[in-house]
């Protein structure tokens, strides 16, 4: 059995989780300081990929990245890099699709954070940066980790946008989900079943991890 799709899926999910982790936290933190109306509008835009069909996300990404479009063709001319139909292209798709999960959970964790802890840090002379990394982040740790795990699981299972942006090339862009589709299409039910089982096993492990994280309480709320 060729394990490349597993390796490729894990690699794409891991890289996009790292990106989404920082991007989601930054957006959640930044948005919490904005005035109500701007916040509501941006919140809709940032959460949209969660409810849009992945094919819509894929189509929009192609509009941006395809070599026939301004940005894609400029990158190709300037750097000689193709933005679509490579394994890295899938990262664009998984980042966009997994981002809302990270952003939403981080925002939820930040909203339940007791602002007086931050105020205490500031009146004690500590910088806003110190307060954020040394007080707010540790207090919201479990929520943020749960968000990252969710984002990773979502990135791992991404199919629609990935297949449009990265396509299916065995040994190059194939992921678990695109492989299952390909095997089913070619009538290889036994092969498809193998990958289905692999996928289910990984997902079960992640859901179990999320359950463990959610069952424990945030240390900030134990008072």
């Amino acid at each position: 059995m060729d394990w490349y799709p597993l390796f490729n899926s894990l690699r794409i999910a891991a890289i996009s989780t790292v990106i989404v982790f920082f991007l989601g936290i930054a957006c959640a933190h930044w948005l919490s300081r904005l005035p109500g109306l701007v916040k509501a509008a941006l919140d809709v835009i940032l959460t949209l990929p969660l409810v849009l069909p992945p094919t819509v996300v894929g189509w929009l990404l192609l509009l941006l990245l395809s070599p026939k479009r301004p940005l894609g063709s400029w990158v190709q001319r300037a750097f000689g890099v193709r933005l679509v139909m490579t394994w890295q292209s899938a990262i664009f798709a998984t980042v966009v699709v997994a981002f809302p999960l990270m952003y939403r959970t981080a925002r939820g964790a930040f909203e339940s954070f007791d602002q007086d802890l931050a105020n205490a840090g500031r009146t004690l002379g500590r910088s806003d940066t110190w307060v954020f990394w040394r007080v707010q982040m540790p207090c919201c740790k479990r929520g943020i980790i749960a968000g990252a795990v969710l984002a990773f699981a979502r990135a791992l299972g991404e199919y629609g946008a990935t297949s449009m942006v990265a396509g299916y090339t065995p040994g190059r862009t194939a992921t678990i989900s695109t492989t299952v589709y390909q095997l089913w299409r070619t009538g290889d039910d036994a092969g498809a079943l193998r990958w289905v089982l692999v996928n289910m096993a990984i997902s079960a492990v992640f859901l179990f991890a999320i359950g463990l994280l959610e069952r424990r309480r945030e240390p900030c709320r134990c008072r």
Partner: protein, 348 residues
């Protein structure tokens, strides 16, 4: 060493307008919950930005809307004791204190000194969730002192504690405050707490601050009904001025005040302790129906209805020592008297 505050802040429908000035001393901000006491402290600490006004601490301008000065909380050097203490839940007591030390090289030394001073050596390695209420408060105080503040803001320092713990902690807190050389603002809604611990008081009512008063003034001549309520006065009635007397329509009584009653007076008040059983022909003696006597810990609270009072009139509350009440051999009716100087008068 002084603090002067003159600020305005609009929060939704709530309008805060606070003005006071204090030398190095312990000043109480007294008010019912929701009156704007905490918002005032937050404005001073720099957590909330006032709409306009000026805050000056020891000659340093912390906030000035005209000169466009608004120091961040980090540079205000104002120690804030939060109601729930706001200890960092993921750090130990020692780490919490260390977080506030500005000079890195002296951190360990200062932390150890404060742990000793606040008897927290045993608790140094525990997290806030594992500390008792008293230890939490001591840790929060130690943490504030570690940041070397010029003023201390105490936001209802005992609201998070059980009452039996309060008294001992109050003594401890007083020791700490006596060693502190800056200004202390003590926010409270508890008149006893303020009476025991502060010499001067500023009553805040509906977002507006009153003049600074000595505790004596507040308890003997409160200038508003709210101030009187905050000082623990329990009996109030509508009043109509009549020369040196007031007529109380609800109780159908006329009481001598022993002083000219200003025309603007609309309400009167009398402390439950100053309503006393009449012995002879004292001033302001009248007959009451005894409705109920409730035993408190040391006192008996007697609810009376002056004869001739309307059915829905407020009851008159009398408090006296249990023995004194037993000595009276209470009957259905009782003659009580109120000394003219104990009648509080309020304009509206």
């Amino acid at each position: 060493m002084s603090l002067s505050v003159d600020i305005k802040k609009k929060l939704g429908n709530f309008q805060l307008q606070v003005q006071f000035e204090t030398e190095t001393e312990r000043l109480a901000l007294l008010g019912v919950s929701g009156c704007g006491k905490s918002v005032t402290l937050r404005c001073i600490a720099g957590i909330i930005k006032p709409d306009e006004g000026k805050i000056v601490l020891d000659g340093t301008i912390l906030f000035d809307s005209v000169a466009k000065v608004n120091l961040p909380p980090q540079r205000r050097r104002v120690g804030y004791l939060f109601q729930q203490y706001a200890l960092f839940p993921h750090m130990t007591a020692a780490q919490n204190i260390a977080a506030a030390v500005r000079e890195r090289t002296k951190r360990k030394e200062i932390v150890n000194r404060l742990l000793r001073r606040f008897q927290l050596e045993q608790a140094a390695g525990l997290r806030p969730g594992q500390l008792s209420g008293g230890q939490q408060q001591r840790t929060a105080l130690a943490r504030i002192l570690a940041s070397e503040p010029k003023a201390l803001l105490l936001d209802e320092p005992f609201s998070a504690l059980d009452s039996f713990l309060k008294y001992q902690l109050e003594t401890e807190l007083l020791d700490t405050l006596d060693r502190f050389s800056g200004t202390v603002l003590w926010v409270s809604h508890d008149q006893g707490e303020v009476f025991r611990n502060c010499r001067r008081v500023c009553v805040i009512e509906g977002g507006r601050s009153g003049p600074l008063q000595s505790l004596r003034e507040l308890f003997h001549a409160p200038n508003t009904e709210t101030a009187a309520r905050l000082s623990g006065c329990k009996n109030y009635a509508d009043a109509v001025p009549k020369g040196d007397k007031v007529y109380l329509p609800e109780w159908n009584l006329t009481l001598n005040c022993g002083r000219p009653v200003p025309d603007g007076v609309r309400r009167m008040g009398v402390r439950a302790h100053f309503v006393t059983p009449a012995e002879g022909q004292e001033e302001n003696t009248f007959s009451c129906l005894v409705l109920r006597a409730v035993e408190d810990v040391f006192n008996t609270i007697v609810l009376l209805r002056p004869e001739g009072a309307e059915q829905d009139a407020p009851l008159l509350r009398m408090e006296l020592e249990k023995m004194a009440w037993r000595a009276i051999q209470p009957k259905e009716r009782l003659l009580v008297s109120i000394c003219p100087r104990d009648i509080l008068l309020f304009e509206r």
